[in-house]
């Protein structure tokens, strides 16, 4: 029972295939069974094309599995109606993408605040936004437009935005992919910090072997299957 409580997301036989023309299907995920523990940093590793981003999209309710089930805290999210999924994405999930995905017409502060608006955050939005930016060390630059920030800074704003509304899970797809090693390490330490301080669950993908040891749980993927 305790084990079950500690699981944030669980997948059962998740298959994802894409039509490739001529009626043929390309199977990218070949029956994935895995558990993502709550309050831990889980890393999905694997070479490119191993299916980790596809899996992450399914875990984060951005994509639907062709077959199989995905549970998030007892709710099956794989075949959930779009509306409910949107609600979950809005309230309970946060995202950090490989390419910096800030909204270009909003300042750093507004990007964070926008997430709070979207999730219907009930506390003081201004305070929370500033707090998050402070957490990622960017309080001084909160009034800058994304274009005026460096890549690492932008990624930190994205992280501040992802955690602002206190989601249950943060999904990060190659968050360090576009950053140099040091900045990348900084981001991972930030994640670790968040897991420890705020108790958030983080699922991230990476192909960088240096980062692997920092994860609490590491799943290795190859050819659409979890091998370790």
């Amino acid at each position: 029972m305790e084990d079950f409580l500690n699981v944030m997301i669980e997948t059962r036989g998740v298959v994802r295939s894409f039509p490739v023309g001529d009626g043929e299907e390309l199977v990218v995920l070949k029956g994935i069974d895995m558990m993502i523990p709550a309050g831990k940093l889980t890393i999905l590793k694997g070479r490119s094309g191993s299916g980790k981003t596809t899996l992450l999209n399914i875990l984060s309710a951005l994509d639907n599995p062709t077959s199989g089930l995905v549970y998030m805290e007892e709710r099956e999210i794989g075949q959930m109606p779009e509306k409910e999924k949107e609600w979950i994405r809005r309230k309970e999930m946060g995202y950090v993408f490989q390419a910096v995905a800030l909204i270009p017409v909003m300042k750093a502060y507004e990007n964070v605040e926008f997430e709070l608006r979207l999730s219907g955050y009930e506390g003081n939005m201004e305070e929370r936004a500033k707090e998050c930016l402070e957490l990622v060390g960017l309080k001084d630059r909160m009034n800058h437009m994304p274009g005026e920030l460096s890549g690492g800074e932008q990624q930190r704003v994205a992280i501040a935005r992802a955690i602002a509304h206190k989601p249950k899970v943060i999904f990060a797809d190659e968050p360090t992919g576009a950053l140099d090693t040091n900045t990348g390490l900084g981001v991972i330490h930030l994640f670790k910090n968040l897991v420890e301080k705020e108790g958030v669950t983080i699922v991230m993908t990476t192909h960088d072997t240096n980062l692997m040891e920092l994860g609490d749980v590491v799943y290795e993927m190859e050819d659409g299957q979890v091998i370790g």
Binding site: L62, V105, M106, S119, P146, G147, E148
Partner: protein, 963 residues
């Protein structure tokens, strides 16, 4: 490289197709311009020629060369003259590069005194006559009586008493003459004339016998530059006989010739006309053959009038089309900037890898030239089509079928078309210079910098508005001068149109600036309350002003231009229609020929006084017309003298009416007078001697209501037979305008300057004039209710003799036929349609691109949990605050510009002062048309965008963004 370009073009095929459409429209409009100009000029020229033929009843394009000289005895005078004429022909052909369709050569021996031999008593005394030869004479005449000069053998011999023509058998020489000569001289066929001073070799005077009377073979034969009736002094002999006579007669001989060169004006176009004009101008200043040969023509004056017309046409065309061409170029610039912006990354990458700016520019230059080349290939025939199509536009957005349009593709068409293509290439490559200078680093660092357009930062809208406002102010001050210039043949100042365009643009920008502040205010007021979607979309609107500014401006300009063009066209056409109807007073005005009768009565024993009176024709015309038409009335119109209290006498116009009938027949535009004109009719009907007087007489005569005024036959027209005496009327009102009364007449002063003078009007009760002065000749005014044909049927009956018949429809058609009005309608229609097409494509493209560019952003929104509805809501909000705002700004700017500038622009079309002021008309139909197009554009835009977004797969988009 070509394959690379091909792939590049295909990769963004929709954008490139739009670009191509822009180039095609540009080249087509440019090619259409000279063709349309030629068409309009030719039409103006042909109209001018027809007018001349109608008025003068002569062939218009004739150049006559003449000379008179003496030839010594022994020299062949006929040969000498012929040689000189032939030489002149050559010079003329060389100068004009065109051969006449006909050369009519008249050779004469100088006038000599002639004595008729037989029955000298019948003739009207001795007179001077000349022996003449007319080239190709026999092919253009037929004999009315007698026989040809060389055919006397065929005529029966005998005496006049026997009823046959007799000839003096001794006569060697024979001639034919015109009927007019016989009539004037009293000569007859068979009579021999003796030339007193021309002595032949046998020492006897020269004798010539008249053998026949000729007349023209076919009526309307252009050969008869002077009709046969004009030859009242010419005895025509054959060419051979002329030579013989010249050999026979001794002594020095004075001879003369006239060489009429007829040119086929129906096939003359701008190029030929220019050459004619230049050549004739040269002859005017230095004479033909340095003055050795005399020359005359009416054609030069006609060409002068044509040149004036052509200048006006050219000016009008450019004035109307220049803003259009600029707008299309801006469109091309806009689309190619979009393409380049999308390709900006590739360019930056190429540059970072060491490709030089020169090479990049060359690549795009070749690509643009390729597109421009295709544009020319399609644009040229399309321009031809447009020219044919808009040559047939009768009114704004209305077409008629004119089969006889001669549209020609000339060298200048090609030049314009290619020049347009070159401009297009320049405008396509221009944005590149800016983009090519960036490398990948500066491009990335530029992202997210504040995005405010130049015009907003430097208040260019305010500056331009001030400039155009000043232009308006100064033009308004010179209003009178502009009108008098136009009246004297100058075109409208192009700066006036430029001013209007600037005004439209700057006003649009200013309104946009103000509206943007409003949007900002709305955003700030609701900042805390906005839903996330609204919040994001407001930030999008407020922070991407530069990019949106361009499409907003484009929308503003296209829409305001559309409205402005439609308003100009409607205003001109509707006012012309109003004036045609107003000037006549009603649909049809007829006047029968009235018969004046004389009556005598004794006033003293041996003295009788003769008085005159008119009798109405007993044709029943009035009652018949009244029966078929909606309503009809009799109106007396004539010139009178007017005399007020000040003892000042001036000429004016009298109109005597039956008030009640007149009210239902005559047409008057509502709102022209200070109160409804029926009130004035009522005032007039109050007392029989009441009169209404035109307002201009009020100040000039110093009149007021209640004053009496005398009117009587005008001094110039007064004669003892006039049936109108002096009538005294009481003034019951002053009117600014009245059906059938234009208020001004155009006069030419001694310097030849055309200007306008006011005319006075006096409106009286017909019954009163009839009771005091007897029946007066009246016009019949009829409001036809569309039954014009019925009235024509009545008036075309044999027993009806009309002095004149005018109808408003014909007047209107004439007014609309002037080339300036026609080209204005054609060009405005074209511009309006082009504007709509550009607006549609420009708008759709802008939004599709803008969505494409923001796909990743929408993906992020979706990932963050925003629903599709929220995102579409965002777009709708953007459309409302960007596009709709721009549309509203465009409409406001179009309407305001119309109100401000049209009153000045219409001076070009109606420079004359007139009682019926030109008022601004706008057609709700056009506005609805534009509304439909705009709604269609907005609707399809949102539809396409929604469709695009709904197909979007969030996961995929985000992934794409990463790549």
């Amino acid at each position: 490289m070509l394959t690379f370009i091909k792939q590049k073009l295909l990769y963004k095929k929709w954008l490139n197709i739009c670009l191509l459409i822009g180039i095609i429209i540009l080249t087509a409009v440019a090619a259409c311009l000279p063709m349309y100009q030629n068409l309009a000029e030719n039409q103006a020229f042909q109209n001018l020629m027809k007018e001349y033929i109608n008025e003068e009843e002569r062939y218009p394009s004739v150049i006559t060369l003449s000379n008179a000289f003496a030839v010594e005895e022994g020299k062949n005078a006929y040969k000498a003259a012929t040689e000189q004429m032939n030489k002149c022909d050559e010079i003329l052909d060389d100068d004009l590069h065109i051969k006449p369709k006909e050369r009519i050569k008249l050779f004469t021996i100088r006038e000599q005194k002639v004595n008729p031999l037989q029955n000298a008593g019948n003739s009207m005394g001795a007179n001077n006559y000349r022996l003449s030869v007319l080239s190709d004479f026999q092919n253009h005449i037929k004999l009315a009586a007698g026989c040809m000069f060389d055919d006397t053998a065929s005529v029966k011999k005998g005496t006049p008493e026997e009823g046959v023509i007799s000839f003096d058998q001794d006569t060697k020489y024979t001639c034919v003459v015109s009927a007019a000569l016989l009539e004037e001289s009293g000569f007859y066929i068979g009579q021999t004339l003796e030339f007193e001073n021309m002595i032949c070799q046998d020492n006897a005077p020269l004798r010539v016998t008249i053998t026949g009377v000729f007349e023209e073979k076919e009526s309307e034969d252009t050969y008869w530059v002077n009709p046969p009736l004009a030859y009242t002094r010419h005895l025509f002999v054959s060419e051979a006989m002329m030579s013989e006579i010249l050999d026979d007669v001794s002594g020095e001989r004075e001879i003369a010739y006239k060489n009429h060169n007829l040119y086929d004006y129906e096939n003359m176009y701008a190029k030929e006309l220019q050459r004619f004009y230049r050549t004739l101008k040269h002859y005017t200043s230095s004479g033909f053959e340095n003055g050795a040969i005399e020359w005359e023509t009416d054609f030069f004056d006609l060409l002068d009038a044509y040149m004036e017309n052509a200048r006006k046409i050219k000016a009008t065309l450019w004035i109307l089309e220049l803003p259009m061409l600029v707008l299309i170029l801006v469109f091309i610039y806009m689309i190619s900037s979009q393409i380049l912006e999308l390709e900006g990354n590739e360019i930056a990458v190429l540059k970072s890898r060491g490709v030089s700016i020169k090479q990049i520019v060359w690549l795009y230059f070749v690509q643009s030239s390729l597109l421009a080349g295709i544009g020319v290939l399609i644009g040229l025939p399309m321009g031809y089509g447009l020219c044919r199509l808009f040559g047939q536009s009768d009114a704004f957005l209305e077409f008629v079928n004119r089969a006889d349009l001669t549209v020609k593709i000339t060298a200048s068409t090609m030049v314009y078309c290619i020049a347009a293509a070159v401009f297009a290439v320049a405008f396509m490559t221009l944005p590149l210079l800016h983009i090519a200078r960036e490398d990948i680093v500066s491009k990335k660092s530029k992202r997210g910098k504040s995005d405010v357009s130049l015009w907003e930062r430097y208040y260019i809208d305010v500056i331009l508005l001030a400039v155009s406002g000043y232009a308006y102010y100064s033009f308004q001050k010179q209003r009178g001068e502009i009108a008098s210039k136009v009246l004297n043949g100058d075109g409208l100042d192009p700066f006036l149109f430029l001013g209007a365009t600037l005004f439209m643009l700057s006003l649009g920008m200013l309104v946009l600036r103000v509206f943007r502040l409003l949007v900002k205010l709305i955003y700030i007021i609701g900042k805390k309350k906005w839903s996330p979607a609204m919040y994001a979309s407001f930030l999008q609107i407020l922070r991407t002003k530069g990019k949106q500014g361009f499409i907003s401006l484009f929308l503003i300009v296209t829409l305001s231009m559309g409205i402005f063009y439609s308003n100009i066209a409607r205003t001109i056409n509707q006012n012309e229609e109003d004036r045609a109807l107003y000037n006549l007073g009603t649909d049809i005005v007829l006047k029968e020929e009235w018969i004046k009768m004389a009556a005598t009565r004794s006033i003293a024993k041996d003295k009788q006084e003769v008085s005159f009176y008119y009798v109405e024709p007993s044709t029943n015309l009035f009652s018949e017309v009244r029966e078929v038409s909606e309503s009809a009335t009799k109106v007396l119109q004539r010139n009178v003298g007017m005399k007020g209290a000040k003892d000042l006498t001036k000429n004016g116009r009298l109109m005597a009416i039956h008030t009640k009938e007149f009210g239902s027949v005559a047409w008057m535009r509502d709102g022209t007078l200070d109160k409804h004109w029926y009130h004035y009719l009522n005032d007039l009907a109050d007392a029989s001697q009441n009169v209404l007087v035109s307002s201009n007489a009020k100040t000039d005569f110093g009149l007021k209501i209640g004053d009496s005024i005398k009117y009587f036959p005008s001094l110039e027209e007064k004669n003892t037979r006039d049936t109108l005496g002096t009538v005294t009327g009481t003034i019951c009102g002053f009117v600014d305008a009245w059906p059938g009364f234009s208020g001004y007449q155009t006069v030419t002063d001694e310097k030849g300057v055309r200007k306008q003078e006011p005319v006075y009007l006096i409106v009286a009760n017909y019954g009163f004039i009839e009771s005091t002065n007897g029946t007066q000749p009246c016009e019949i005014w009829a409001k036809t209710g569309g039954k014009n044909q019925d009235i024509f049927d009545i008036t075309s009956r044999d027993e009806i003799h009309l002095e004149y018949s005018n109808n408003a429809n014909t007047e209107l058609i004439l007014a609309k036929q002037t080339s300036i009005i026609q080209i204005t309608n054609g060009m405005l229609t074209m511009s309006f349609l082009v504007v709509l097409v550009l607006c549609m494509i420009g708008f759709l493209i802008y939004w599709i691109i803008s969505i494409r560019q923001r796909e990743l952003l929408f993906g992020i929104y979706r990932a963050m949990g925003m629903s599709m509805r929220e995102i579409i809501g965002m777009l709708v909000n953007e459309q409302v605050f960007c596009s709709l705002l721009a549309i509203i700004c465009g409409v406001i700017s179009g309407i305001v510009t119309s109100r401000v500038f049209i009153s000045l622009i219409v001076i070009a079309y109606a420079p004359e002062s007139h009682c019926l002021p030109y008022i601004l008309y706008s057609s709700p139909k056009d506005m609805v048309r534009m509304g439909i197009v705009v709604t269609f554009i907005l609707g399809s835009c949102i539809f396409i965008l929604a469709k695009m977004l709904s197909k979007m797969k969030v996961a995929q988009v985000i992934k794409l963004g990463e790549d």
